[in-house]
């Protein structure tokens, strides 16, 4: 078997494994069977090992790191995202994060599989030391943002579940005691997959991930600017990629200010989630735009011929898919145990629940 076939095999196995893992996690999210998550995680590890093999093989036979072409960058991003997820689980049990990460990894690999895979020799513009530094640093920052995103989404779910539980508990007590005066409420415990971690832990995890991702993104933007300056004479030219990278940087800048100003944790969670969406837009911009770089150095196209319109449709498509996954998660989510109980008495309904 030659190297290209070995790489292809590893890639295909990873793609299939990530798909099955994603399905298991979605099932886990709706059925709440712990075993499903364990299996999903084991499969993720398995797929990760095969993808590592595929990427290493490619690096060896192509002679340059596997993060240059669209196919490579997407595959590498998926690999790094699953890697970040695996590392996260070495420290503490965040297996349920696979609900968000594995579908993302699968979609990325799926996109990668639709791209041309033949390794092409590096064109002049890409022959820079910065490509070895700039690209992996940016990808690492995105991986940190994925973790921040997952932690924030789990935070918001848990926050919602807790407040719903608090409301239903309050309503139940009102009905049971038949009085409008609500007795002091206990702290309700969340159920299912969200019971593993507290709001504080999720908030802390999100902050720590941003604390890793934000400086990395800053370094990534600066090295990108240095590279742009040396390759086409302008450290900044408001290309869609540069602009989206800056937007992402600004969103996380707001996040950090929200944290130092002690604004509400759920607001911060929303900001972090948006920041990651923005990072995905940047990434897809790059994925779709890089092929245009092939036209580099020709008088007819000029230096910014690569900033084509393909970026936008791809980005919208991807964000649509991501949004659909989120909606699916929201729809299949089990309601808190008490939420389906009978509504309170008439008089209470008028006054509304007191919390």
């Amino acid at each position: 078997m030659d190297a290209a076939a070995l790489e292809h095999l590893g890639f295909e196995i990873a793609l299939g494994t990530y798909l099955i893992s994603s399905v298991l996690f979605v099932l886990y999210f709706s059925l709440k069977k712990r075993r499903l998550a364990e299996m999903g995680f084991t499969l993720a590890l398995f797929g990760f090992a095969f993808q590592t093999l595929a990427l290493a093989t490619r690096w060896l036979y192509a002679g340059y790191p596997p993060w240059i072409s669209t196919y490579e960058v997407m595959s590498f991003f998926a690999w790094a995202a699953v890697g970040a997820y695996v590392i996260l689980n070495f420290k503490s049990d965040y297996k349920s994060a696979g609900v968000l990460i594995m579908p993302l990894a699968f979609v990325l690999l799926g996109f990668a599989s639709m791209q041309p895979t033949n390794p092409a020799p590096l064109i002049p513009a890409l022959q820079s030391v910065w490509i070895f530094i700039h690209v992996p640093i940016i990808i690492l920052s995105y991986c940190a943002f994925i973790i921040a995103f997952v932690a924030s989404i789990l935070y918001l779910f848990k926050d919602k579940q807790l407040s719903e539980a608090r409301v239903t508990e309050g309503l139940n007590r009102q009905r049971d005691t038949g009085s409008k005066d609500t007795p002091p409420l206990g702290t309700p415990e969340s159920t299912g997959i969200l019971a593993n971690f507290s709001l504080e832990q999720l908030d802390d995890l999100a902050y720590k991930s941003v604390a890793v991702g934000f400086p990395l993104l800053t370094i990534g933007i600066i090295t990108g600017a240095i590279w742009a300056e040396s390759a086409w004479g302008s450290y900044w030219s408001w290309d869609p990629i540069e602009t989206w990278a800056l937007i992402t940087w600004f969103v996380f800048l707001i996040y950090l200010h929200a944290k130092t100003q002690n604004w509400s944790a759920s607001l911060a969670a929303y900001i972090a989630a948006f920041g990651f969406m923005s990072a995905i837009c940047t990434f897809l911009g790059v994925g779709y735009v890089l092929p245009f770089l092939q036209t580099y150095v020709s008088v007819s196209t000029g230096l910014h011929g690569y900033a084509g319109g393909g970026a936008i449709s791809g980005t919208v498509l991807f964000c649509g898919i991501l949004g659909a996954v989120l909606v699916l998660l929201f729809a299949t989510r089990k309601k808190p145990p008490n939420a389906t109980r009978a509504p309170p008495a008439r008089t209470d309904a008028e006054s509304g629940p007191t919390t």
Binding site: A120, P121, I123, P124, A125, Q127, S128, D204, A211, F214, P215, T218, I219, I222, A225, I226, W227, E229, S230, A231, W232, G233, S234, Y235, W236, W238, P240, T243, W244, L246, I247, F250, V251, L253, I254, L256, H257, A258, T260, Q261, G285, Y296, V297, S298, V299, L303, G309, I312
Partner: protein, 323 residues
């Protein structure tokens, strides 16, 4: 006026401006040709407002912070101690032992009557992180402004000039001669790189350089980038160079570096403070950190366990002597 200052120095206002910049940027990338907004005067004004807000924010906050760090409150009330996120009462511990166990902390002490106050601090420099980062951003923006003012005023800036092989181009104070141009290929026929050999002629100074796609030539404030190439009807090779002024660029890099240092300081250097109040009746310890509290509290917990086990041992030894 006071109201204007209050608005401009508030974080909410700065965040609102950033939000507006984000919105405009999103719109700018969504429409083909939408990138004209980034050059429009009102977008520049928006960035300018953000710069002013950043500067004022920092200026109004840095003086109180400096005072606070220079002359910190060492003598604190019991209420203050008890309100700290970490608070314990220690028993049988001497101040000397406490001082020895707090390695790497800057320690201040005062005494009032028979009560001794001790404040141990670490990572004060981290508190300046945000302002260092703000300062860096301002230097960067200054570089951008210098580039816009002087770079664009330079008649050679952004010019694309064609030099045929053997000819030279006269620019401000020196000339650039194209000696040779070559294209190198990979085995499969794809282009590996384009290389132009040029000579700078500046009075008595004659220097030969090579210019490649990722390796432009910078000389006397002008940078020459390889832009295109071709062959004339008479069979002479020519190379097109794009010329850029380097005005302001060093400020941009310096600003970026300072910003990065500031970000690192503010994210990775927590400011830790430990107060100890020892009177005849009791020894109290209270602590606070501006971030990563869990790890800091574990650190103090470790110090405390060590101190108290030693105190316990001493106590035990004294008792056995009595027997």
């Amino acid at each position: 006026m006071n109201f204007a200052i209050k608005v401009l120095t508030s974080t909410r206002f700065a965040v609102a401006v950033i939000g507006l910049i984000i919105l405009v940027s999103v719109v700018g990338t969504l429409y083909p040709g939408g990138d004209v907004v980034f050059g429009s005067p009102w977008f520049v004004a928006l960035i300018g407002i953000l710069a002013i807000s950043t500067a004022l924010c920092s200026l109004t906050r840095i003086a109180p912070l400096w005072r606070d760090l220079r002359r910190p409150q060492v003598e604190v009330s019991d209420r203050f101690m008890q309100a700290l996120p970490y608070y314990v009462r220690l028993s049988g511990v001497t101040l000397t032992q406490v001082r020895d166990s707090l390695k790497g902390y800057a320690i201040r002490e005062t005494m009032t009557g028979s009560t001794t106050f001790l404040l141990a601090q670490k990572g004060r420099v981290g508190r300046f992180g945000p302002y260092v980062a703000h300062f860096g951003v301002l230097i960067l923006l200054l570089g951008v402004a210098i580039g816009a003012a002087y770079g664009n005023a330079n008649p050679y800036n952004n010019k694309i000039t064609v030099i045929p092989e053997g000819s030279s181009l006269q620019v401000d104070g020196f000339a650039l001669r194209l000696d040779d141009f070559s294209v190198s290929y990979y085995n499969n026929g794809a282009v590996r790189d384009y290389t132009a050999t040029v000579t700078v002629l500046d009075g008595n100074l004659i220097q030969t350089h090579t210019v490649t796609v990722n390796g432009p030539l910078t000389y006397k404030g002008l940078t020459f980038y390889l832009y295109g190439y071709g062959v004339t009807e008479s069979g002479t090779a020519w190379v097109a160079f794009q010329i850029k002024s380097t005005s302001g660029v060093p400020f941009v890099w310096a600003g970026a570096a300072v910003t990065l240092v500031g970000i690192m300081l503010s994210l990775y250097v927590p400011h830790k403070r430990i107060w100890i109040k020892q009177s005849d009746q009791s020894t109290q310890l209270g602590a606070i950190s501006n971030k990563s509290s869990a790890r800091f509290f574990r650190e103090i917990e470790g110090v405390r366990t060590k101190l108290e086990s030693r105190a316990h041992r001493l106590d035990h030894a004294n008792k056995s002597e009595e027997i």
